[in-house]
């Protein structure tokens, strides 16, 4: 019961946060001298009627505070307006967000599966050649600019022909059976996942190594050792649980970093995700789309932090009190 109240409180806290986020993004975008409907006006396939509706919906003839109010109201209702091509923003987002989520979830999953054991082994073998080599490798992984690494992998893909370049699906995707569809997507995902995995693995491994070193130094681990427990039991039964907890808090930040890193990677690989969508929207100064995807990015980030917090409550009983 106590946990439920805590979780509920935590969820309620995100609401003012999102309101401030929306205020910040709204004013940044409206600071620009760009006419939000310029593209729409120039597009001959967009009818006068749609234009009229948009002007009304955004309240462009009213002061900026009223505009924000109108925008917020329609956002909550789920009406996100139309893109400069006259498409519905919401359908565009529905198409892109799952792709970005797919990419980031796979990457987080892989980094945890690989990064945690590597961090533990590095901490156990502290200052041995194994630890040194890992430190050097992770430094290299952290220093490669994501877009540059992506470009290098593209060269590799083009030269060997082993991987498809760009997109998430092949041209004949619709005609495939369900299994070949999954295989096709996995094939397309290999390169973008590799880029993001390399970059985020380094950070996680280091964090885990640091935490483990801290915990191994603590009194209760010394006590467990003095008690005569086997080293295996000391590490995996006693030390690991406490070393992983701070990482759960970091999960939210990791998610944030991935969303940002993914934008450039998506751009290079022409991956149909949220990052590329917002980039294209920015370049076309498609205000509705920019605003909506910015909010979606923020909501995903806030939700990521929320999930991390809730997980932490479940794993770490000390937080509940």
């Amino acid at each position: 019961m106590q946990i439920l109240i805590y979780i509920l409180k935590r969820i309620l806290q995100t609401i003012p946060l999102l309101v401030i986020v929306s205020l910040i993004s709204f004013f940044i975008i409206r600071l620009s001298p760009v006419d939000p409907l310029a593209e729409l006006r120039l597009n001959p396939s967009v009818s006068q009627e749609t234009l009229q509706k948009e002007t009304q919906r955004l309240g462009l003839d009213k002061p900026i505070i009223v505009q924000y109010g109108k925008w917020a109201k329609s956002f909550v209702k789920g009406d996100l307006g139309v893109t400069s091509n006259g498409e519905q923003v919401s359908s565009k987002l529905k198409e892109r967000i799952p792709n970005t989520l797919l990419l980031t979830v796979i990457v987080i999953f892989l980094t945890w599966i690989v990064g945690i054991p590597l961090g533990i082994f590095a901490a156990i073998n502290w200052k041995t050649p194994f630890d040194r080599i890992l430190t050097v490798l992770t430094s290299v992984g952290m220093a490669i600019p994501s877009f540059f690494f992506a470009v290098l992998l593209l060269i590799f893909a083009v030269k060997t022909g082993w991987f498809p370049v760009g997109g998430l699906t092949s041209a004949n995707f619709a005609d495939m059976g369900i299994f070949s569809q999954i295989k096709d997507m996995a094939h397309h995902l290999v390169l973008p996942v590799t880029v993001l995995f390399t970059i985020s693995l380094a950070g996680l491994q280091r964090q885990m190594r640091g935490n483990m070193l801290d915990v191994l130094d603590s009194e209760y681990v010394k006590f467990a050792r003095a008690k005569g427990l086997s080293e295996f039991k000391v590490i995996f039964k006693h030390a690991l649980r406490n070393a992983v907890n701070p990482l759960i808090t970091l999960l939210g930040f990791e998610f944030a970093g991935l969303l940002s890193g993914a934008a450039l990677t998506e751009y290079v690989f022409q991956y149909p995700g949220l990052g590329r969508l917002i980039l294209e929207a920015v370049l076309k100064s498609d205000i509705n789309l920019v605003m909506a995807s910015l909010m979606m990015g923020a909501i995903m980030l806030v939700l990521g932090n929320l999930i991390a917090d809730i997980l932490l409550i479940i794993t770490d009983p000390r937080i509940r009190t």
């Binding site: 986020v21 910040i24 975008i29 877009f147 470009v151 290098l152 944030a256 450039l264 990015g297 923020a298």
Partner: protein, 351 residues
Amino acid sequence: MKEVLSQLMKDKFAKIALIVLGVIYLALFFADFLAPYTKDFSDRSMAYVPPSKIFTIDENGRFSKPYTYNYIREFDQKTLEMKYRLDRSQKFYLKFFSKGQSYKFLGIIPMNIHLVTVAPEGRLFLLGTDINGRDVFSRLLFGGRISMTIGFLALFVLFPIGLLYGGISGYLGGKTDIIMMRFAEAVMSIPSFYLLIILASVLPSGMTSIQRFMLIVVILALIGWAGFARVVRGMVLSIKKQEFVQAAKTIGQSRLGIIVKHILPQTTSYVIVAMTLSVPSYILSESGLSFLGLGIQQPDASWGNMLKEAQEFTNIIYRPWLLTPGFLIFVAVLAFNLIGDTIRDILDPRN
């Protein structure tokens, strides 16, 4: 501080990293002298020329002073490809410390001595040329000036803001603290790269390159201050309970005076570590932004916008020399990271 530096030099990796960075910054400082060409020099007939071949053995098999040949661009009618052939009719000897294109050293002193040049009709492209026939090697040096300083400049804008914001929020506490921290958290809740590209796209066109450079510095600072302010606030919360703060209060110091003069100086060591650790991330952000075409604009060079050309398949496969800025970013960021890691280890109380 001296102690940290001497310990830094004891660490093998950190020492190498310091030397590498030293060499890079020296080279950027003397860029005008080291580069065979000025920043804006372009030879339109020489687009995408491969790196000049330098010969030290002449056609008779004897040693000679180093020399190079110009390239000739030809369109092959059969394969429909652009071919580059050495024009062996005329040798151009490399001249060291001799007169070349004139420039202003550090923007003030007019000079025309270059480390290495060739006769005016000859072309010396150590790392080939780009689409406009500009020397990649020279532009690497000039672009580096922007890429390698922008991170530091952003930090100089960001740190005072973060320190003051975190200091005030932590010291005053109560409702002010809650409101200020909620705002900082909101800024942190926007994925930083999304915010970055949006701010960059809001910049009006038609600015001079200096204005644009300064605004990008400000934008980079706007992204980073919130996280920094939050950590500072946490530190201030524990510092403000100490006795010397009480003492300052009793002698009637103003609140701002206490924050700026007594509390914030206590955070110096953290600030230094945070600084060395965050420089590389700003170098990466700038290069990413310029890579997308939203950062430093042509004709100015930065390592990021030079890599923009690497977005085309034909370029990355047939003209690998266009990728050199990427390797430099990598080396610079790696060196900064190694130094940052070592400093963190040195200041770690566990050691």
